[in-house]
Symmetry: C2
Subunit: 126 residues, 2 copies
Amino acid sequence: MSNQERSAPERDDRTGDCRPGLLTAPLDEAHAADLARTFKALGDPVRLRLLSLIASRAGGEVCVCELTPAFTLSQPTISHHLRLLRQAGLIDRERRGTWVYYRAQPPALDRLAAFLTATPHPTTTV
Amino acid sequence: MSNQERSAPERDDRTGDCRPGLLTAPLDEAHAADLARTFKALGDPVRLRLLSLIASRAGGEVCVCELTPAFTLSQPTISHHLRLLRQAGLIDRERRGTWVYYRAQPPALDRLAAFLTATPHPTTTV
């Protein structure tokens, strides 16, 4: 790929931080460690399925009481995977009454997507 | 997040396949296992730094002889990480004379980015 095809650094609209994309510059160790933790959370099929169940749900949230029956896994195992997704900042939860409800965190997902994007979008302005 | 905010399925321009994004529908087990393998390859700081060194290089390729000195790791360890990135389809290599040259695989990176994108791009047409 040529220099011209490199993407511009991704700017975080909330903080104004300029986040380097994969094609922009070599990652420093701290940034690599931070991103690796998040990708590691995605590196498991059960966690990916849990995340997609939550993120694709109409209304944006899912009761934990609906997640466990979707898998042939114990409730503690599902809770463990949900905790890892939450620690990676990919989902959040809220307790209401008896149940806990999970929702995805779109900014965290978009940050990973922007980091990985290898082909600059044609409408990108620098 | 509302139904209206969901992204459309991502279409692979090369194959015409319609690849579901994270927000589109729950992942099936096979798709989750496939994606998890790739994300797992990214879930290590050394591999992320290797990938960014390769992907951000002007000209698009890096000789293995330049990668090893960038880390305080043995050559076999670097080779192991490069092999995992290659098995995940994130980089490719070519032997020319004495040396092996690595380059990133933008379609594989873009596929992951499209899967993760949580906020539909304003220019997206369905």
